[in-house]
Symmetry: C2
Subunit: 443 residues, 2 copies
Amino acid sequence: MEVTKTLARYIVQSRREEVPADVRHEAARALLNWCGCAIGASRHETINNMLAAVLPFAGQPQAQILGRNERTDCLHAALVNGVSSHVFDFDDTHAKAIHPSAPVYPALLALSEWKGISGADLVHAFVVGVETECRVGLSVFPEHYAIGWHITGTAGVFGAAAAIGKLLGLNEQQMAWALGIAATQSSGLREMFGSMCKSLHPGRASQNGLMAAMLASQNFTSSEQGIEAKRGFGRVMSTKFDPSIITADWGKRWELSSNMYKPFACGLVVQGTIDGCIQLRNENGLTPEMIDSVDLKVSPIVFELTAKENPQTGLEGKFSVFHAAAVALHTGMAGEAQFSDESVLNTVTVALRKRVRIERDESIGRVQSLITIKLKDGRTLERHVIHALGTLERPMSDADLEAKFRGLADGILTKKQADEVIRLCWTVETLPDAGAIARAAAA
Amino acid sequence: MEVTKTLARYIVQSRREEVPADVRHEAARALLNWCGCAIGASRHETINNMLAAVLPFAGQPQAQILGRNERTDCLHAALVNGVSSHVFDFDDTHAKAIHPSAPVYPALLALSEWKGISGADLVHAFVVGVETECRVGLSVFPEHYAIGWHITGTAGVFGAAAAIGKLLGLNEQQMAWALGIAATQSSGLREMFGSMCKSLHPGRASQNGLMAAMLASQNFTSSEQGIEAKRGFGRVMSTKFDPSIITADWGKRWELSSNMYKPFACGLVVQGTIDGCIQLRNENGLTPEMIDSVDLKVSPIVFELTAKENPQTGLEGKFSVFHAAAVALHTGMAGEAQFSDESVLNTVTVALRKRVRIERDESIGRVQSLITIKLKDGRTLERHVIHALGTLERPMSDADLEAKFRGLADGILTKKQADEVIRLCWTVETLPDAGAIARAAAA
């Protein structure tokens, strides 16, 4: 089965008209969410350090670094914007595996600025790129991830190559080469989680995928069986490889329809707790001094990942379900600002945090939570969150995504700029030049 | 065992004075050989196509593309020179595993041009880089290679990171990060052999290693157990991993002492045949019309890899022991020019090729050959090549390496330029600015 060549043919033959309207709207939602993440982390130490290292090598100012004033060549813009969009771990998540936008949109937006690509073509290329990376990822999932590969990097590079290859109008032969050049650059180890290198992975995937497609467009050759060969991606980098997943039902189901957006700026397993706490707070007008105790029944995985009782920094706060519950009840929010050092040390939040207890319950799902709040007036409030906000069963609304974007852009873009980026994202398919989005996101 | 941190400490603490003179001279030999390979392939389609793809993104003219007139930023120069040095498969080979120079020298020379590094420091950094990449490679060899990884790419990135990190003066913490950033970019599939992507691997390794060290110098963090962790390089990318190989006898044995240089521009298994044919030709003043028949007893692997009887292109000629023997007897040479399309179709060579026969002999080693030539005057000449020229037992002399360089540079550099590059390579340790070598190698 010639998977690489078949996939290349599907990508080349894909027509925009075949993509359903709801899938194209999902691309706009992903774009707004991705822009917010990239802008929000654009002043982070990770980005400052990276720019200090790579700016001496950057070329012509073809593309914007989002949220900043630097412009670089497309390859470096794809790298840096790819990194920034993953720094907060706040970017989108495909239902089963990968963070789809971070490897694909940075390359696409950079090329759009340089070549003047229409928003309609950008959206179509993004859909094709996501389809490619998710299918390649799913063909080796979960064994590939279990071995230690960071699938957002390893599969993401295929997405960027496919998306850029589509925009460049590669023929089938060239597209197979682009996928092969992507395959032979596929990398990213889970050992890097907890360091700046975790975010390097989608950045490199975006940059390397862009270069793969550029090389193929100039007839730089690779194997035409880069994915399925004995010594190709699937068999070298995984103990399980099912190539049929890559091509089955192409054009019938759309992986982008399984895309999720996190409402809260921390790990998945705490989202249900935060969601329920905010619901109870808002419905009952709770203030910290009204609350006697907070009892959470949670999945055992919460104990493994986020049971830090006494966090001292913002980053530690992300791994503390105690802080997450307290700050959600105190402020009604759980954006990046609620996981700052300052927020974690806020005396009101800290006092409330000490009244939060957790109990292991095997029957509670990993994104679920059963919350019981005892009030000082004797009342007891309870909320069982089965489908947390942001899951496929209860997706964030367009308005939720706008609010999330505003929270991330706050202090970096002006309100007027934020309005403009939001407007451009919602109308992306009408834009004659999608690069306008990147330019609007300059500091 | 904290292998990554220990290795980082060894690299940081290494002092030039500890490197024996013969090892430092080997670095000069490797430099001359590497320069020749990079210059020789600098006009190849692989390089033309790559430059067409990446030049639009290149930055300031910090570093020279060898054998051409383009100058680019260091990252792109490391990439392109790394690719060109492997295109002919004519670069050096470590006794057990890797092609050591192609991932390391391109990054080093680029940085030298940009920062004005002395030749003595360049040589020291190269020795440390080769030590690093060979030890990391040997820790997973041969299983890692057998799975399908192209070890020149996957281990080479560590060599470039270590060498550049040494030049940048990283501290131990930063060096461990540089090795981790290298680990998480390690890639390159053997499936790409036979396509332009094979040469992409050392180029990317050089470029990625350079960036790894630059990032680490700006405190871009990674895991400090990138090599040995459960989800680090060794265990994710190989079924066998022996970390003790990486640090054992550091500073006592030198991997560069096991470096080999190919005299002839084709695969290893044909080198013995060519060597013996040239010896017999030169000793006996043979011309094609004197020769009645040529019988070769060769290893079975020769049948597997290079038994093409009727090659029609230069590339096919590299996989034809018949052409190799004939062209060696006809011209007394087997450089890149003897594997051109023209040379493969030369009527005299073709006529002689048809009088070459091969016989499988299990007792003949893979780089050996037993040659029997019957002359029309009735004489029989025989030569059993046990240690082919270029093996560790019979290394190419400095003069041989000069001749090889001249053959590769011919038609690209003037004779005067070639003389100057040769002079600079032999005196590299006295140069105040090693970048002079790259500038002398401009077209």
